[in-house]
Symmetry: C2
Subunit: 150 residues, 2 copies
């Protein structure tokens, strides 16, 4: 049950526009999309680095988990996403290993993914997200760029 990639590193920020500018213009990551995820009370921006993403998160409600994280810790690293072939199989594997899951079954994530969170209590303080990519024809970032230019 190997992850195929570090899917994303999620970072909680107060000012999404300013953080996007920094990760795009200074760090040099490629902005892929912005998305409002009302169910989680966040707006996110995805920036690609090779086959992984930097996921910038900012709260849209005062009581969302990311808002509470910012209140407690300030801005910074929030969670770590591993890309897996099957989120359902990964959840079963973690449970078989006695790991405490936040999500006992996969649920919809951003950009059409299927995701489940692992409790940081089982993961040495790190909130881990298991991410299964959408099963659609995959375009590379270059192909997306080309597609947008046409």
């Amino acid at each position: 049950m190997q992850p195929t990639e570090i899917d994303h590193v999620a970072i909680a920020v107060l000012d999404l526009d300013a953080a996007i500018r920094y990760y795009r213009d200074t760090v040099g990551a490629t902005l892929i999309q912005r998305e409002l995820i009302e169910s989680d009370g966040v707006e996110e921006a995805l920036l690609a680095v090779a086959d992984s993403y930097i996921q910038l998160l900012t709260p849209t409600t005062t009581d969302s988990p990311v808002a509470r994280f910012l209140d407690r810790h300030g801005e910074g690293l929030h969670h770590l996403g591993f890309r897996v072939e099957s989120c359902a199989d990964a959840v079963k594997h973690y449970q078989d290993q006695g790991v405490t899951m936040v999500d006992l079954t996969p649920r919809p994530g951003s950009r059409g993914t299927s995701v489940a969170f692992v409790s940081p209590k089982s993961s040495f303080g790190t909130l881990i997200e298991l991410v299964e990519e959408p099963h659609t024809a995959h375009l590379s970032h270059d192909e997306v760029d080309q597609d947008l230019r046409n």
Copy 2:
């Protein structure tokens, strides 16, 4: 000045052996090496996920930066490493953008790398490390496995 990869995600832990077991046996990452870095007061374990690493860090002295992090925050995500072609060029680029650097010139990191840290004050709360890989003939993880078996 694009990073070529998320080089590593560093995680501060109290019990390195237990954390290695979790990231190897449950998460499914491949243990590559352990290394004592006396100058930083840490022992680290590198576990590969595709072309990136999970870097588990535990302090070897009570006054090392990782020891102070654990005192303040407990276990969890510590910093984020971006792989770059040239650490010296990256440092100059960040400085040209007005970013506050922890290291004004590259210094030796683990596994023969050349590294420089960017201040979290400029990076929306995230400690960022710029990592230039050693310029030696590169073996893939499979080749390393094969090499160890011979």
